[in-house]
């Protein structure tokens, strides 16, 4: 069934190079200005997100992962199973989903998209490697948004990677 509302949450530290990948990807989704899609760009996942999550039919989490673990974009459906009993700087959306389910009785269906990140240095701009990963993530997110965003739109976003108006630091 087509979701009526979708929440996209991009999170990470935008002062630490490629750790901003999730937030950059979220910014580009926001720029599509899609109806029924709400986009949040945050430093980390916190309990307060349970409130907007419970109002969504579908949630998509965007983050970075060390490229050494896996050089490709990961797209995983996730469920509300707590991985820890705390919220800290290291955020796991499954924990947040579990918290939401406990607090409100249910949580949305959810996907976790992580983008390979090469450089986490303080103050570094996004690496070209991660920029390509963001483009791949945007292509992967289209069917999850279940909306007809033209392929050309995604290509244009890939070409925008060096422009300042994306809101993401670039080389």
């Amino acid at each position: 069934m087509r979701p009526r509302s979708i929440l996209v949450i991009g999170y990470g530290n935008d002062l630490r190079g490629d750790d901003a990948a999730g937030r950059c990807a979220a910014a580009r989704v926001a720029a599509w200005e899609l109806p029924a899609v709400r986009v949040l760009s945050l430093h980390q996942l916190t309990p307060e997100l349970a409130d907007p999550l419970v109002a969504a039919d579908r949630a998509i989490f965007l983050d970075a992962h060390p490229a050494g673990d896996d050089p490709a974009v990961r797209v995983r459906p996730i469920t509300a199973v707590p991985r820890t009993n705390r919220f800290g700087h290291s955020s796991d959306p499954r924990t947040l989903l579990a918290f939401t389910k406990t607090a409100f009785g249910h949580s949305p269906e959810a996907w976790w998209i992580t983008i390979p990140a090469a450089d986490f240095a303080l103050g570094a701009p996004l690496s070209r490697f991660t920029e390509r990963g963001i483009a791949d993530a945007l292509a992967a997110i289209r069917p999850l948004l279940d909306l007809s965003v033209p392929d050309t739109q995604v290509a244009i976003d890939g070409m925008r990677s060096n422009r300042r108006d994306t809101g993401c630091p670039t080389r």
Binding site: L15, H43, Q44, A50, N85, R86, F87, A98, T102, A103
Partner: protein
């Protein structure tokens, strides 16, 4: 054999710390210390930066308290420019600070401390946290989430984002409050007021069962310091400083924040990166004083809003006058949340709030500025010395949590002496020691900027030199 017990890390606080408790051969507590094990160093690496960058830089000291640093830093910058900021800018800064106090206090109570009150100090540590709370008390937990969110949204409406908003600047603020934001904030007030009134009611009903903790958790005489208004009213953004003693006597009043060095000294101890400010006339360590919600309610004559003033009277009745137990920080926090909700509502009625006259422009007109405001945890000082180009020559930060350092250490020792009898130490007793620290709601990321004398390293050594037992928490 003498023992040293180590609690590392202290849980459900902001930042990193440990506690060491020393036992004699009979298992009695001889000493206890609170060690802050992180070092941030902003006082040093900010040297050479333009003063107008300082709000943005110091806001990144902490993800919970950025607004507090933003405002104190902007106020220091106002003095360097030698300007009076436009009235609307001050009112907007005040609105943001109210949102900041509200969200921070909500975090402290609902996320960090309520698990102890509602689940029990001796409950299973695996569930004695926000997850356990939401499972046991989902309605309260949901209300707490939305209350904190309300405070964060005020910050976001004004500054564009909830964390590290680059909005308050020397001379004023960057942007106005939109009509849409004004309406959205106003719409949330009834729910926020209902939540805090309900929570206050619940907490007051719990208090009789928590009187033992109230008697033991940091219950000792000390001075208290905070900002007050010209008529002695509760203040959070401006005003003058006042010290009172445990009997409620005003020891010093109408103190100007920019002259803080005349009455506040700073000591450094070898066991912690946290400085120890003290009241100079009484010397160190006799000049111990406390800041934050407990202190603000002790130093003010009234709050100035009807419901909060009513709760202030109830708070003082419960404490039999000046509150000397640090456990009562929790109650004070709830009273302050109510005060912020009422003051936010009142602020929204002021037409000045919607003005576009938001910034005073000037050059470098003074080479020194001291910004003082009340952060959720207590009085915050940003002191900058600049050169003729406005580049920082020297920075001194006096952080709320640091001002509570002496009191926190004394609290840890008091609780440990009461509850711990070696050799077997139940987990719930150790949790009470931690809870003593949590009462202050310390922000350790904010408060560790001085150059420490030693690197901190845990070693367990008995009085005869052998390795001691150690208690750790995950």
């Amino acid at each position: 054999m003498a023992q040293r017990i180590v609690i590392d890390p202290v849980t459900r606080i902001e930042g990193h710390a440990k506690i060491t408790i020393h036992l004699d051969d009979e298992g009695q507590v001889t000493d206890a210390k609170f060690h802050v094990t992180e070092f941030r160093g902003f006082e040093r690496f900010c040297e050479g930066r333009p003063f107008y960058e300082m709000p943005g830089i110091t806001a990144r000291v902490c993800g919970i308290c950025p607004v507090s640093h933003l405002l104190a830093s902007a106020k220091a910058g106002d003095q360097i420019l030698a300007v009076s900021i436009p009235p609307a800018a001050e009112k907007l800064r005040r609105l943001m600070n109210l949102g900041q106090i509200l969200q921070s206090h909500a975090l402290s109570f609902f996320h960090l401390s309520a698990p102890d009150f509602l689940l029990g100090f001796d409950s299973d540590p695996a569930t004695r946290n926000i997850f356990g709370l939401v499972a046991a008390e989902p309605e309260l937990a949901r209300a707490g989430i939305r209350l904190r969110q309300f405070g964060q949204e005020i910050i976001a409406h004004l500054g564009g984002q909830k964390i590290h908003p680059a909005w308050a600047v020397p001379g004023g603020v960057r942007s106005a409050l939109s009509q849409e934001s004004h309406a959205q904030i106003r719409a949330r007030i009834p729910e926020a007021r209902a939540t805090i009134l309900d929570t206050l009611g619940r907490f007051k009903r719990m208090l009789p069962s928590l009187e033992k903790e109230a008697h033991i958790f940091g219950n000792f005489p000390s001075l208290f310091m905070g900002l007050v208004g010209p008529d002695g009213a509760w203040e959070h953004y401006d005003g003058h400083l006042r010290f009172v003693d445990s009997a409620g006597n005003v020891i010093a009043d109408r103190l100007e924040g920019r002259r803080y060095q005349e009455f506040i000294g700073e000591a450094v101890e070898s066991h912690s990166y946290l400085k120890s400010p003290f009241y100079r006339p009484l010397g160190y360590p006799d000049g111990m004083y406390r800041v934050g919600p407990l202190a603000r309610l002790n130093v003010c004559s009234h709050i100035g809003t009807p419901l909060a003033d009513q709760e202030l009277r109830a708070f003082r009745d419960r404490a039999n006058g000046t509150a000397t137990s640090s456990f009562r920080y929790h109650h004070a926090r709830l009273v302050e949340i109510l005060a912020t909700v009422e003051k936010i509502e009142r602020a929204l009625d002021d037409p000045d709030l919607m003005s576009n006259r938001l910034r005073a422009d000037a050059g470098i007109n003074q080479l020194e500025g001291v910004g003082v405001s009340e952060a959720p945890r207590g009085t915050l000082f940003h002191h900058y010395l600049v050169d003729e180009y406005g580049l920082i020559r020297k920075v001194n930060l006096i952080i709320a949590t640091g001002q509570n350092n002496l009191a926190m250490n004394r609290t840890v020792a008091q609780i440990a002496r009461h509850y711990i009898r070696g050799p077997h130490i139940p987990e719930g007793m150790l949790n009470r020691v931690e809870a003593g620290i949590r009462a202050y709601d310390p922000c350790l990321s904010c408060s560790t900027h001085a150059a420490g004398a030693i690197p901190l390293q845990v070693t367990l050594v008995a009085s005869d030199g052998s390795v001691l037992d150690e208690v750790r928490r995950s």
